[in-house]
Amino acid sequence: MKTILKKILFIDLLKGMLITLKTIFSQPVTIRYPKEKRSVEESFRGRHAFVRDPSTGKERCVACTKCAQVCPSQCIYIDYSINDGGVRTLIKYEIDALRCIFCGYCEEVCPVNAIVLTEFYEYASYTRKSNYFDRNSLLRNWDEFIESYGGTEYLNKFWYLPGIKRDRLPVGKRAPKGILKEIKREEE
């Protein structure tokens, strides 16, 4: 008897419509991109950049080529020269960002924390050349990113790898210092 009554009065369909009615009066979860943007979490894997060392003003890369060896899609091209003392100098460093799979292995393996995947992700363009980064454009990426960075000190999770035992890591990754955003520029 009850089931026949439920069938005639469409109780099952009304139950569903009650749920949708409640949702009309709740706050929508959508945001209107590009007018409102959601903030990404820390160490989000976005555009590549070469870190500008605050003490020397140039990049930190020592041309050990570990990142090129570990990259699964082989998108990093490095050229270096060795002088008599055995010291390497970097000649050419190029990343083809369109080949990159954004796995983060390069920033994890770099022993001096020279390369980083910043939290910047809006770099779509109409030509392929603008996404083929060489040494200078990687440094420019860093300058643009650190200018628009919200906080005062930038320290990426993949530089110090929380949770891993410290003696497994090379020296430069055990307790690296964050990059302080220069306050002088804001005063000017």
Binding site: K7, D12, L13, K15, G16, I19, T20, T23, V29, V40, E41, S43, F44, R45, V62, C64, K66, Q69, V70, P72, I101, F102, C103, G104, Y105, E108, V109, P111, V112, L117, K157, F158, L161, P162, G163, I164, K165, D167, R168, P170, V171, G172
Partner: protein, 401 residues
């Protein structure tokens, strides 16, 4: 372009090609259907439009780099694919991840199962016509992808599990947020059930459609919820437990009839069980390391000695090619399977001692499920074909590899 050989076309039948570009086939799948009136006489599926050569590429990369290939197999649930591969290599090396890493991996596995089942529910309901469920399920899935972003920095193709543990540690603040979200999730599953389970339209579209008995399902090689909907109790989390699944308690929902409605109920109940597993894991999370001391490093060599004694200089971990006395990996072969959201995902590895796999074979559940479509669709209408594709939960990324 090469012609498809259809053995014999009857003049009474009408051939329709649901081609590779189709919104309801969940990827690039070609179905050649022959109809008599509106009833299906024969269906011939054709796969291979997304074949990327994962098995061949895996032979040319080191074990650690090959993990990024497994990310992209079933691109909706990439954490479980990574864990399947890591389990196979760990069993080859005879190491086990430390307890904290096991619990983290279980949490992440179950979150992935939730995310995959939410996408299944959204697309299946959308194909049948219930469009509201699509947007509700994506609201929850967005939240889960944000948790993945907080844990490791990427939403879809994470390479978070590592051979011997996980890659980064999870903060307590993030675990608390996940715990609170699981309570919200349980209420939302009740909402989805309220919209669909007793709905007369849903019942008439899914009851009696795609019925398959237990013996036929085992012959065809179905696994996962497609097999459990027919009543066979086969879940790898209970049969061959891995990670922390033997330390949490959960139930396995089973169906009786073997039709689409039973498979739907199985997956909805699995979503509830996943939320309970995540809550139990967060309550019992131990403290400790997250990586086994013998786990291979990121820059593992292709050939040569595995352990390099160079102290703590800048070049510690540099590759030495000369000495080949000690093998990098033990020689042998191993087959290890996990309970992926779609079914049984198996990885078969053959190692010849060097740093690259000799043969990496991926047993994908979607590949086997697509071969079951012709048998399940016989005698049904065209609209039921769409419902059957949806209930089998197919992703072309792993069917084609």
């Amino acid at each position: 372009m090469g012609s498809m050989e259809i053995e014999k076309i009857d003049e009474k039948t009408f051939v329709l090609q649901m081609g590779p570009h189709h919104p309801a086939t969940h990827g690039v799948l070609k179905l050649l259907c022959e109809f008599e009136g509106e009833r299906v006489v024969k269906i011939t599926p054709d796969v291979g439009y997304l074949h990327r050569g994962v098995e061949k590429l895996g032979e040319h990369k080191t074990y650690i780099s090959a993990m990024t290939l497994t990310d992209r197999l079933d691109y909706i649930s990439s954490m479980t694919n990574n864990i399947a591969y890591c389990l196979a290599v760990e069993r080859l090396l005879h190491i086990e991840p430390p307890p904290r890493a096991k619990f983290i991996r279980t949490i992440v596995s179950e979150l992935t199962r939730l995310s995959s089942h939410l996408l299944w529910l959204a697309t299946h309901a959308l194909d049948i016509g219930a469009m509201t469920v699509f947007l509700y399920a994506f609201r929850e899935r967005e939240q889960i992808l944000q948790f993945f972003e907080k844990i490791c920095g990427a939403r879809l193709t994470v390479s978070y599990p590592r051979i011997g543990g996980v890659r980064l540690d999870v903060k307590d603040r993030v675990l608390e947020e996940i715990y609170n979200f699981m309570d919200v999730m349980l209420k939302r599953v009740d909402e989805y059930e309220g919209l669909l389970t007793e709905n007369r339209i849903w019942i008439s579209r899914t009851k009696g459609v795609g019925v398959i008995s237990a013996e036929e399902a085992l012959e065809l090689g179905l696994t996962g919820p497609a097999l459990r909907g027919s009543g066979v109790n086969y879940d790898i989390r209970k049969h061959m437990p891995y990670d922390a699944y033997d330390e949490v308690s959960f139930e396995i929902p089973l169906g009786t009839q073997g039709d689409t409605y039973d498979r739907y109920l199985c997956r909805i109940r699995e979503m509830r069980q996943s939320s309970l597993i995540v809550k139990q894991c967060i309550e019992r999370m131990p403290k400790g390391d997250i990586l086994h001391p013998d786990a291979p490093d990121l820059d593992m060599p292709h050939q040569g000695k595995r352990k390099i004694e160079a102290g703590d200089s800048l070049w510690s971990g540099f590759i030495g090619f000369s000495n080949k006395k000690e093998d990098i990996m033990p020689k042998g072969e191993i087959y290890s399977a996990i309970e992926a959201p779609k079914g049984e995902l198996g990885i078969y590895l053959i190692s010849d001692g060097s740093g690259r796999p000799y043969r990496m074979r991926v047993r994908a559940p979607s590949f086997v499920h697509i071969s079951a479509i012709p048998k399940m669709c016989k005698g049904h209408l065209l609209a039921d074909v769409i419902a059957i594709i949806g209930t089998l939960d197919i992703v072309m990324g792993e069917a084609d590899r």
